[in-house]
Amino acid sequence: MENTEVLQMRGICKYFPGVNALQNVDFTLRSGEIHALMGENGAGKSTLIKVLTGVYVKDGGTILIRKNTSDEAMPDFEEAHIRSPQDAQNSGISTVYQEIALCPNLSVAENMFIGRSGAFTNWADMNKKTGEILKQLDIPATPRQQLGSCSIAVQQMVAIARAVDMKCRVLILDEPTSSLDEQEVEKLFKLMRDLKKKNVGIIFVTHFLDQVYEVCDRITVLRDGTLVGEYVIEDLPRVKLVSKMLGKDLDDVADIKGDSDVGPVDKTQTPVLEAHKLVSNAGIKPFDFNIYSGEVNGFTGLLGSGRSECVRAIFGADKVLGGTVNVKGKHVRIKKPIDAMKNGIGYLPEDRKLDGIVADLSVRDNIILALQVMKGFFRPFSKAKAEAMAQEYIALLDIKTASSDTPIGQLSGGNQQKVILARWLLTNPDFLILDEPTRGIDIGTKIEIQKLALKLASEGKSVTFISSEIDEMLRTCSRLIVMRDRKVVGELTGDDLTRNKVMATIAGGEET
């Protein structure tokens, strides 16, 4: 029978200290469907997946899984008590994560059977079975081939084949396409459609809207840990989906004219920075970019649309493969961050923990780091000078820290972010890139940082601002560059800077 429900999650709740990660979320999966789970960062997608796969234990609600009987007439469900990934697997739930969790130095067959064969392995039998599965699913690999020698897409498929072979009825694909090129994505979709015909229920988590509309049957949208709704794909055009994800109705037209006191930008002058056909190795399409003195502009788009990759290319953080960059009309070559810094560019990175803070070093060392590097290896600041600069910015940005000697890792997220901001303000850049400067920090600090961006612009500096929150972008930016699927798809200024217009451009495809 087609489309019987295989999985019901009812009233799922999950709390973390201080956060309700999931509140009363329902989710239903039918056999033979591809079901997209959508939502912005922090919406609760990954928490829901982790509850389902036993990585987290739920704090409330029930998970019902269809009994594995051939008697289709009786839709009887039993409650699944999932407390560990092993429980989930035994209940027929398999997951393929974004990062492939297989062993690249083992053969394809070994990867398919690893951890399943007990103490003894019948190698011939294992290779034979693997061969059959690969053929059945039309995966271009041989059992004895080393997994690492396959392309990422094929490795992804082997991971899926492994999951499917373990008699799963629910397959979770968590961002499987983020590291694949277009042809590889096509191959993966073909495999997903084949599995669909075999009555497997697939949960598909992705940030790519085009892909959702290409393969999915249904969409469940989460926002801020709550269920927004479940929709059949035909009933939910892209623009509606984006507005559901962002929590802003299209008709909800509010005042978007920012409270900024930034004057109009003089576009007759030479841009502070002008990039032409810039492209890096991070998988973005070549893009053009410019910014003028006193301007705040921004990159907008959904997560994974290539916003960060663009600014990283400008700063030389990723390997630049082509394009030209002019700073104040002069041609420059920015191959690594220090080149950008010497041209008066500062970059506050998106991932504060991974790319921003140097956790064990003191607040003082973290503040002076960039300026110190620019000054040179053989010219360290005296301790007194470093302390004076650190104290000045601790006071200026109201950084809450026990002392300037405290390791930055012990500060709260918002204060860490202020330290990184102080680091770049100290270098007195002409052009400051702020990549998600307000993510995960409290509302008060958020507004301080937004005001700071506008203040810098009113002083004649240029700021590029990236944020997942459209409101924040509209409040701060006078020009928005819109990205979708790693490509610049539009630029909005003036009267076009409305929520509706931005969301429609982000969604692309049809217009309402």
């Binding site: 961050p337 220090i338 970059y347 803070i357 070093l361 110190q372 290896f377 053989f378 360290p380």
Partner: protein
Amino acid sequence: MTPANSLKKKNSIVSQFVALTQKQLFIPVAALLCLIIFNLIADPSFFAIKLGHNSDGQPILSGYLITILDYGSELAILAIGMTLVTAASGGQDISVGAAIAIAGSVILKVLCGDNSRPDHMQAPIIVAFLVACVVAMLFGAFNGSLVAFFKIQPMVATLILFTAGRSIAAWINNNELPIIAEPEFSYFGTFIPGIPIPTPVFIAVACMIVIFLVLKFTNLGLYSQAVGINPNSSRLNGINPAVVKLITYVILGLCVAVVGLIKVSRISTINYSVIAKDIEMDAILAVALGGNSLGGGKFNMPASIMGAYIIQFLTTTLYKFNVLSSALPAYKAVVVIILVILSAPVVRERLASFKKSRSAKNSVKEVA
């Protein structure tokens, strides 16, 4: 004084003591105190220093403490380089013993030329030393580039030179054992006439002053720690992590050359298979004993140097009690296990939580 007051005072002493155990220098200082107390009880003559004369009639100081200062100096010089390598690359160079053999061999080769038993040195000692510095720094750069550019784990990368080093050292002198007859050459490893303190002590002090000045007047400390803690962030702040790692290995090469000079000077010849044997382990232990994380990041240079002298203190103590040299490593291992466990973050956290529960208990008591 009321009983309550004395109780309070006792508790504050306890909590102060526990707080003291959290300091990085606590482990090395405590280890040193233990060793001193043990020797005081077992045989106070351990601390005796005698002023005597050597066969040439020159005044020299002798005694176990002098031995510790003498041989500990070699370790301290190595610990300086090893600390930097550990901080920046999050791993250790295990080839220093083999590299010392190479450096020593190069010095003898330059001094002896083609004749392995020359009547006079064929070149000034300073030239021989500078050549050895260049060679040792090149080998350091080799290790460093494997680690920095090819991203090979430090222990694996330096395993190559660890294995090949002593053969290379022997090959440099065609497997002969050159002997320098002139006494001036032995000054670096023994005594300068008229000065009763072993020369290696002065060399070590000079090295310490140099590294102190380097850390003060360059950003070596900041860069190597930043790279060791977060290479991504360092790169985005304009540092080239690979170059910083490479530099630390080259600096360790320089330390190796200095120790090579001391080693061959002590005996005016070389034994390729024995010279500086297992010294890399002692150098790494010195860094660990100083309370520095072997996983890289923050470091404390004085603590490492102190660690080096403590290791030598331990070795000398064991020799004093006639432990067979073949059994020495086993005894050392026991002590090292204790020290390393005590300085492990897990144990330190336990101690910290012990302190917390203790102070919590005290406050309850006071309320009662």
